[in-house]
Symmetry: C2
Subunit: 305 residues, 2 copies
């Protein structure tokens, strides 16, 4: 293995994903673990992290471990500030260095962003926005970060001017896993055409989206509509209900999508079908680029709060 320089970590509500970064900035290795973060006591976070990354560590050397995500929220490992927008997505002076028992690691945690009116918060996406902007410093337009809670951020002058969170991914998950729709939207299949028609119907007639949800169940009962089509229609209705709120944002200025491959593809074809051609930027690349400036900080300057 090439020489490890530092470790980038995305720590979410349900997972820890760590990347071993080499001297020349490339990811040498990846480690993933499920983690019910909300159930952890503050004293358990260090062991949980070490279980994922310890095989990469040197015995007689400190490895910087830079963490982005919910880890900085209240009741988590160590609370970090929210920076109020408009602001740059990443401010090294607002990060926190966490004291650890294990002397092989130096752990820094990113801050989050918040917005006062309307109220909104993000923890994790700001890192990816910072990474994207390090690659495209002059970008002006909207950045979409699709996921359980998709975020749309307005970017100008290297700053996040404002942002909006949608529970689209979580709505899809709980409706298809927990609601009466679970009987008709469980499928490994998928239908892009149905998805795009549902996006269009939500954009053309947004007030009827809630009336169309139960209709999926009725279509299964009355017409025997295949579950892969109903799953794609549910997804399209929810993505369309998100896009309709943002029409002024994507129907004009530049749009970039930062996300994992499949969810990014869906947002991309939805926007393409409406005449918008978003730039696509890989979420892992954005994460690593966003955390790199933290790894480069001198140890002294970021003593624990």
């Amino acid at each position: 293995m090439k020489r490890l320089s530092w470790i980038a970590v995305d720590w979410g509500n349900t997972h820890i994903c760590a990347y071993a970064i080499g001297d020349s900035g490339e990811a040498l290795d990846t480690a993933f673990a499920d983690c019910d973060t909300a159930a952890l006591h503050p004293s358990e976070f260090e062991d949980r992290l070490l279980a994922v990354i310890s095989s990469w560590l040197y015995e007689n050397q400190v490895t910087p471990v830079m963490i982005s995500g919910v880890i900085g929220s209240a009741k988590s490992w160590s609370e970090t500030a929210y920076l109020n927008v408009p602001c740059t997505p990443m401010d090294p002076t607002a990060t926190v260095t966490i004291a650890t028992s294990d002397q092989r690691i130096l752990v820094r945690v990113m801050h989050g962003l918040c917005q006062t009116r309307p109220e909104d918060v993000m923890r994790g996406e700001e890192t990816r926005i910072a990474g994207f902007l390090s690659d495209r410093p002059d970008f002006k337009g909207a950045v979409c970060l699709p996921g359980m809670h998709s975020k749309w951020a307005n970017i100008a002058a290297g700053q996040v001017q404002s942002f909006t969170t949608f529970m689209t991914g979580e709505l899809f998950t709980i409706l298809s896993d927990q609601s009466v729709l679970r009987h008709c939207t469980k499928s490994l299949g998928w239908d892009d055409g149905v998805f795009l028609r549902a996006v269009e119907s939500a954009l053309l007639d947004p007030v009827s989206v809630t009336a169309k949800l139960f209709g999926l169940r009725a279509k299964a009962l009355l017409n025997g509509t295949p579950h892969d089509m109903l799953k794609a229609e549910l997804s399209g209705l929810l993505v369309g209900a998100e896009l309709v709120t943002l029409r002024a944002i994507w129907d004009g200025p530049k749009v970039a999508i930062i996300g994992d491959r499949e969810i990014t593809r869906l947002y991309q074809i939805a926007l393409n079908s409406r005449g918008c051609s978003p730039t696509v930027f890989d979420a892992t690349k954005a994460l690593i680029a966003g955390l790199r400036p933290l790894a480069d900080l001198p140890t002294e300057s970021s003593a624990a709060a």
Copy 2:
């Protein structure tokens, strides 16, 4: 106890609620039991029913047991037809008499209603609409049956002309129980003023409802907004998103609400705040009145399908 004449049963996905009806039509007694109906094998339904009502039965006499609800759906006790709207809400010739091992009961199950375009189905609410119309045969307007899946039916000439189902109650339940909003909407308290303002905001700006859902979480984190207010706001946003779809229905013709007390009160104050004064009709009274014609059928005329 006065003399039992017949038994009315509301059998839902999660409960059985039975009413012992006396000779003069009054409810003499009520019995309630939780029931995970979807988990029952067809052979288990009779025992499940008897566990709830057997204490009421006469040993040497057949008691009619008239059932409304999901019990008539596929994979349930005995499938009954959907009648296609427009039609009267109750057609005795489309009910099914179920053969039982226990000779003390005669069990009849109501049919459901369906609609082809857009696709929709109901099982249970048609009984309450029939009961309401037996009391108000000349009613013309909209009937709202709020609940996990609220139904709005257009009534004219004693028939259901069309109907629409909203997953409002289920959305509220899964969002406040399962989603990230569970951290900020758990409260025994309530705030009518917040509820009504959220209804109004959804009516004035329906496309922004999905963007406002995550905002509840952000208000809790940033402002410490009390959970009773956030719970009322979530409910108001969802009820408002339902009402905005139906503006043409309640903003003019007569409206009746058939429901349980608290959910009915919420829909009533929401509609009142928009200048609509709905009639309120008790859901249990409607159920019993809707099933009564089935109890009066001669045994021969409704032999099992």
